[in-house]
Symmetry: C2
Subunit: 200 residues, 2 copies
C-alpha cells in the first residue's frame, strides 16, 4: 500500500531536499495537499522563478538574479579588501557580524579533483585577473576550516603571492563561550601551539 503515484512523486521530490527524511517528506506533502494549497503554489512559483532567473554575479560569483549583485555595486564597500568564501551562506554569516566592509569573492565550492572541481570551476582565473588589476591590496581567505577548505586556501594564497597581494586568514582557535573540556582535540592542540603572549 502506497500513496497514489502523483502524491508519491511529490514525497520523493521533497526527500531530495537536504535534511528531509521519509517521514518529514510525507508530512510536508500531505500538509501542502490537504491544508495549504497556497503554500504549494507559492513554492512552485518561487522555484520556477529562481530556476529561470537566478544566476551568478559577474563580479563576485554569488547567486543573484542581477548581472552584478547589490553588494558589488554598493559604493559604501571598501574596494581594496577582497574576502574569499566557499558559499553565499558563508558570505551572509560574515555580513551578519558587521565586522567587514570590503568585497567578496564566492568560490561556490572548494577544490575537489575527485569530483572534477578544479581551479577553473571555482573561477580562480577570474580571481587572478582581478588581483592583477591592482585595486585589491588585501586578500582575506575565509574558506571553511576543513581539509578541503585549507587546501583551497593554500592554492589561492600562492596565486595572490604571484600577484604581490597581501594575504590573510581568519584566526583559528577556541570558539567563544565554549568549554575547554568539550572542544575537539585538533582545535585544542592548534590553540595551544598557537598561544599568544598576554600584554601586561
Amino acid at each position: 500500500m502506497h500513496y497514489s503515484p502523483l502524491i508519491q512523486n511529490l514525497i520523493d521530490s521533497l526527500r531530495g531536499l537536504p535534511g528531509v527524511g521519509p517521514k518529514s517528506a510525507q508530512r510536508m506533502a500531505l500538509y501542502l495537499l490537504e491544508r495549504n494549497p497556497d503554500a504549494a503554489q507559492s513554492l512552485e512559483l518561487s522555484l520556477q522563478q529562481a530556476r529561470e532567473k537566478v544566476g551568478r554575479c559577474q563580479s563576485c560569483r554569488t547567486l543573484t538574479e542581477e548581472p552584478i549583485c547589490q553588494l558589488c555595486r554598493s559604493e559604501r564597500r571598501l574596494r581594496h579588501q577582497l574576502c574569499v568564501v566557499e558559499s553565499p551562506s558563508d558570505l551572509l554569516s560574515i555580513e551578519q557580524t558587521g565586522v567587514y566592509q570590503g568585497l567578496y569573492f564566492v568560490l561556490m565550492g572548494h577544490l575537489s579533483p575527485i569530483d572534477g572541481i578544479g581551479p577553473k570551476e571555482l573561477g580562480l582565473e577570474q580571481l587572478s585577473a582581478r588581483l592583477a588589476q591592482g585595486e585589491v591590496t588585501e586578500l582575506i581567505l575565509a574558506t571553511n576550516p576543513t581539509l578541503e577548505g585549507r587546501t583551497t586556501a593554500d592554492y589561492i594564497a600562492q596565486l595572490a603571492a604571484q600577484q604581490g597581494v597581501a594575504v590573510s586568514r581568519l584566526a583559528q582557535g577556541l570558539p567563544m563561550g565554549g568549554e575547554l573540556e568539550y572542544v575537539d582535540s585538533a582545535t585544542l592542540s592548534f590553540a595551544f601551539s598557537g598561544r599568544k603572549p598576554v600584554d601586561s
Copy 2:
C-alpha cells in the same frame, strides 16, 4: 544584507513547509540553486502535477488523482468494515500493520468549531448516507487519541448508533515496548483504570 529577492522568496516559501526553520530553508534553497538544479526542477514539476490533479476519492475522501482510490476499488477488501481516520497518513500507518482488511473513511481533520470545521467539512453527511445503505456493519473509530479526536469520534458514534451500526474504537493503554516510568500520567491512569483480568 539579504539574499537577492528571488532567492529570498524561495527561502520564504521553503519556510512554509512544516518543520523547516530559517537555517534549513536557507540550506535547502542554496542546495537547489547551487548544486542540484535537477532536484529543483523535479520538485517544481511534482508540485505542479500534484496541485493540478490530486483531489479526493469520491468514496473514502482520501487524497488521490483518481475518481475512486485504489483501495476503495480493490476486490480483496472486506466491505462490511469501515475504519474512520483523520488523515491519509493515519490510513497508511494502519495499512502498514497489515491487521485490517476493510475499507476506510478519511475525515481530513477533526471537529474544530473555532476553525470553522464542522460535520459538513468532514464529510459526515456522506458517511451517514453510506451507513444508511446497510453494507457497513461495523464502524471502527481510529481518530487520534487527543481531545479533538475523541470529540469527533463521540459525534460519529452517535451518527452510527442512529443508523443501527455497531461501533468500536481502538484500544487505549500502555504502548508496547515502553517503560512504565516514562509513560505520561494520563495514559498510565487510563491503563490502570482500564485494567483487564488475566486468564488463568
